[in-house]
């Protein structure tokens, strides 16, 4: 069974409700198989989606999003500054829908470095990532054809040749 460090529930009471968490985890395999994220925010979609797939908030823990949003002027090598009202709204959306904190501590700022990402993609040959249509592991949409709509289902994958 695959285990993702993801909060696959759109509901929020996880931290406050251990029973709900236990129930969620009990149903985890079915939830994990869907890999569909529906939480949305207009500004998140427009601003984050302006340059890359608007990565679903569930893919990183809140501490990672906080750090990312605090350094938008140096965002993975580019300037992605936002006015503060927009940044505040997007940060709140990301943090309130974030994934669970990874057990091994230090939050990664790169989704592709998280343990669950590596595990989920470990069957792929290194050469696939280098194909020109893929270019970078950050380019979810190259293979996950529904990535723009938060759909990362295993039934919705076309690896470019």
């Amino acid at each position: 069974m695959k285990t993702l460090d993801l909060n696959l529930s759109e509901a929020r009471p996880l931290a406050a409700a251990p029973l709900a968490l236990a129930l969620l985890l009990a149903s985890f395999p079915a939830a994990a198989d869907s890999h569909v994220f529906t939480a949305t925010n207009e500004k998140w979609k427009t601003e984050c989606g302006g340059c890359h797939v608007a990565y679903p908030p569930q893919l990183l823990p809140a501490s990672s999003w906080k750090a990312i949003m605090a350094g938008l002027d140096r965002h993975f090598g580019t300037d992605a500054s936002l006015d503060s009202a927009t940044a505040t709204e997007i940060a709140a959306f990301l943090e309130s829908n974030a994934g669970r904190v990874a057990r091994d501590g230090a939050p990664s700022l790169r989704i592709t470095e998280t343990r669950w990402f590596i595990r989920e993609h470990d069957e792929l040959a290194a050469s696939i990532w280098k194909r020109p249509q893929v270019k970078t592991a950050a380019n979810c949409g190259a293979c996950h054809i529904g990535a723009d709509h938060g759909n990362f289902s295993e039934h919705n994958i076309r690896v470019p040749k």
């Binding site: 340059c51 890359h52 002027d73 993975f76 090598g77 580019t78 300037d79 992605a80 500054s81 936002l82 006015d83 270019k135 970078t136 950050a138 380019n139």
Partner: protein, 120 residues
């Protein structure tokens, strides 16, 4: 100003009036030629404007890092461009940061806009 009459792009005109006010020496001086040169040159960093927007801003561009498609920048090919002053400022801030490592001057912005608006 040397670029053709702008009726559709009121926002761009307003922006350029502001830019001109901030740089009085260039009131009549926005130049599509200088803007084109600026657009296609690097300015100390790896990227020029053309790195993502291509050397023909009427074409679909591609983000140099992520590969994401970028809609054409020239209003002749994409009427949505320069219709929101907020958006114009946001992208000038970001992209000038990447290309020049600083904010663009009002004159630089005016010249680039003059260039983009001059394309048919």
């Amino acid at each position: 100003m040397r670029f053709p009459a702008i009726t559709r792009t009121a926002v761009a005109a307003a922006f350029m009036a502001t830019a001109a006010a901030a740089a009085p020496q260039s009131v009549a001086g926005f130049s599509p030629q200088v803007g084109e040169q600026f657009f296609k040159s690097t300015h100390g960093n790896d990227w020029s404007c053309a790195s993502c927007h291509t050397a023909d801003p009427r074409s679909v561009g591609k983000h140099a890092k992520t590969g994401k498609e970028i809609a054409p920048l020239a209003p002749t090919a994409n009427p949505q461009r320069f219709t929101s002053a907020e958006k114009v400022e946001k992208w000038f801030k970001r992209n000038c940061g990447d290309v020049l490592g600083r904010d663009c001057s009002p004159e630089e912005k005016g010249n680039v806009l003059a260039y983009l608006l001059s394309l048919k």
